[in-house]
């Protein structure tokens, strides 16, 4: 298993090089020139050229990538075109906010999704099942953006219970994390339900019933433990889409995290920021996937890595 982890970690730099190259090329292929955006629509060509030189965008693409990569290896992601601050510092300032939001959302999603899915499985085809599934479908299909606006209007504007914007106190966490948790909660609930239903039809569960084990014990320790594996897989794999959701949620709530940072950066074609944030996000996704795999191995000793 140690060899497996080492192999995965060794692959990380390759993934990062691949992704950074892809992002590097993709953002430069986008229409819109950062120098023109900085200099404004009324700028003369001369002013745009001077700005291009200052930003180092007059160099050849391989040269630009090499200097970016060389800096990144030494922990220097360049200077933000817009804020004129080091990208590393900018990310360091925002990352805790995004992690805090993501972790809260995930805990919410697991804390609600797993029990809801179990209830649905236990009362399969009964009304609790139907309610959970309707909510899950709604949760999975609702637009994050719309939900955020509705929540803000209801709880902040109309009722005045919660702060509208920013991250000034723990109460600021409530609306964004709930909004962000809706989609993973729905996915986890559905996954838990189908996984539980499958496990509940296994022979050993029937045996447990026959032995007279209390149903509560069967659900929570016999069935759930085995049903957890696909659930954890889904949780691990879904981290990427959680990051995607954070981009939208953070933008709407003025959350000072890296998701909103990325949106702003794309708007201004702030290349160093887009590159830096993507690298950090990709590292996070890879690490989360790896953690999920390890957790599965711990839960099911039959799984071996080679």
């Amino acid at each position: 298993m140690k060899a497996y982890i080492a192999k995965k970690l060794l692959a990380l730099p390759l993934i990062l090089i691949g992704v950074s190259l892809l992002v590097f090329v993709a953002i430069r292929a986008l229409p819109g020139d950062p120098a023109r955006l900085m200099a404004g629509p009324e700028a003369t060509q001369e002013a745009v050229d001077n700005m291009t030189r200052r930003l180092g965008l007059d160099r050849s693409l391989p040269e630009q990538y090499a200097s970016f990569a060389y800096g990144a290896v030494r922990g220097d992601l360049g200077i933000s075109i817009k804020s004129k601050l080091p990208v590393v510092d900018e990310i360091a300032e925002r990352l805790p906010f995004t992690l805090g939001l993501a972790i809260t959302a995930y805990l919410l999603a697991i804390g609600i999704g797993v029990p809801a899915g179990m209830i649905a499985a236990i009362y399969r085809h009964g009304w609790p099942d139907q309610i959970v599934m309707i909510l899950a479908i709604a949760g999975a299909s609702i637009a994050n953006f719309w939900l955020a606006l509705m929540a803000m209007n209801t709880f902040s504007v109309q009722l005045g219970w919660l702060p509208l914007l920013g991250a000034s106190s723990w109460r600021s966490f409530i609306l964004p994390s709930i909004t962000l948790a809706v989609l993973p909660t729905a996915v986890i609930a559905r996954m838990t339900r189908s996984s539980m239903i499958e496990v509940m039809s296994q022979d050993y569960i029937r045996t447990a019933y026959a032995k007279g084990v209390a149903p509560q014990t069967i659900y929570w320790s016999h069935a759930l433990r085995n049903a957890l594996i696909p659930i954890i897989t889904i949780v691990g794999l879904n981290f990427g889409s959680l990051v995607g959701g954070a981009v939208v949620t953070e933008s709407v709530f003025n959350w000072p995290g890296i998701g909103r940072f990325l949106v702003d950066a794309v708007r201004y074609r702030d290349y160093p920021v887009i590159q830096g944030v993507t690298l950090v996000a990709v590292t996070g996704v890879v690490v989360m996937n790896l953690l999920a795999e390890l957790l599965i191995a711990v839960l099911n000793p039959k799984i071996r890595f080679d």
Binding site: M38, E42, E46, N50, R54, G160, L164, G166, W170
Partner: protein, 511 residues
Amino acid sequence: MAMFLKNRRFVLASAVAGALMFPIVAGAATLNVMQTEAPRSMDPGDQTATYTAALLDPMYEGLTKRDPDLSLKPALATEWSSDAAGLVWTFKLRPGVKFHDGTPFDADAVVKNFTRHLDTKRGLAASGRLRTFLEGVTAVDPMTVQFKLKTQYPAFLALLATGPCLMVSPAAETAGTIGSKAVGTGPYKLAEYKSGEYVLQTKNTEWWGGAPKGEDEIKWTWTPEPSVMNMALQTGDADVVNPFPAAFAQQIKANPDMTLSATDGSAVFWVSLNTKMKPLDDVRVRQALNYATDREGIVKAFMQGFATPANSPLAPVTPGYDKSLAPYSYDVEKAKQLLKEAGYPEGFSMSTIVQEQESRIGELLQAMWAKAGVKLEVRKMEGGVWSKAAFLDPAGKEKDTIGSSIASWSSGVNGADLQFRPLYHSKSASPAGANLGFFSDPKLDELIDKAASTLDEKARNAIYVDAQKLVNEQAPHVLLFTKQDLFATRAGVKGTWVIPGGLIIVKDARK
């Protein structure tokens, strides 16, 4: 973070209890201002964005300044004079002024502020306009500076009150920190710049003008979401919202807790017609399109009424604007007749390119012009793609069959030259400038150049009236409307005003 997680289970109960015990109160001494975008720099000379300029305004000053009545007044200069040709300008500087970092404000500081724009290696975002006419700046004595211009520039004094000419501390400029740490001479100084959250400004107690009149602190935040801006004003998270989204304006107007301000802006919207392409090379066809355009209808449908139908290439706030002009009524019959005279009794087909956020204008024109028999193909484009297509040369536009471009231009109080020259002078034909339809009329060029070298304001404005008439008659553009500047405040906020174009001034505001 741990605190938040530990508290997770108390969330619901506390949310209710907390709301009852601690209603959200913003500090009474802080004015909260929300705009649509984050500042692009802390250096006024390294940005060209209106909302960044508004945010920097409390911290920086120029040699001249705009007053709420839009007139130009002395600021860091106390008096000035020019030679007869208007090419050499001498300014006396205000004594006893210090930058926020303690650096004294003197002639050397002024010279350094302008030479940085003349240095091509520095590559500052706002240098372009200055570089077109400024030859150099020298210190005559410690409190006197002299500017030498390459050509006469009627907007010179107005420009001195704007971004590139606002004075930054020479020490901060040398240290290379001015882009992220503002140091000016203004009534407020930078307290905190959290690029992901807010900019906080506090009173500069050593300001030369005495005690600043505004609140103790000004806090700037931003969001691109119109509905979030509206909600922030409702909850009081924002005391001032600029620009206020037109879609919610009626709602604010009806609410006694809030005040909506709608004033003449500076952005003139138009359709630039490709005068090098058939049949738009015929002035009768261009006039026909002008007659076929229902400007009132566009203002209502696209701007919710918050715009003024255009009767001139200039905005109403621009010096020299003539409000008595009334060149084109909405008259479909007249349009048809002109098309018939030009040899197109059955109408013709043409295309227009438009950015996504303005695409509704294209659709409205499509419906209006169809009544005169003109089939308009509307090509919507993302901003970057649009500007590439709009600035093509005549051959490129011919190849892509681009018959017209929908856009706007904003020069406002800074003078008519900044509207006429880039949009209508033959030398500004794209890609060199924003004369996107390659309009060329020697008579208009002559008027524009003559006005630029006329120092007397009355005489200059008279020339601009002729130029407006000529543009209206030759119709290189279908002029549409001038946008109004909308901002909204909580009802108690007093002393906020806006420089046409959306640059909000809040340094004297109280709430």
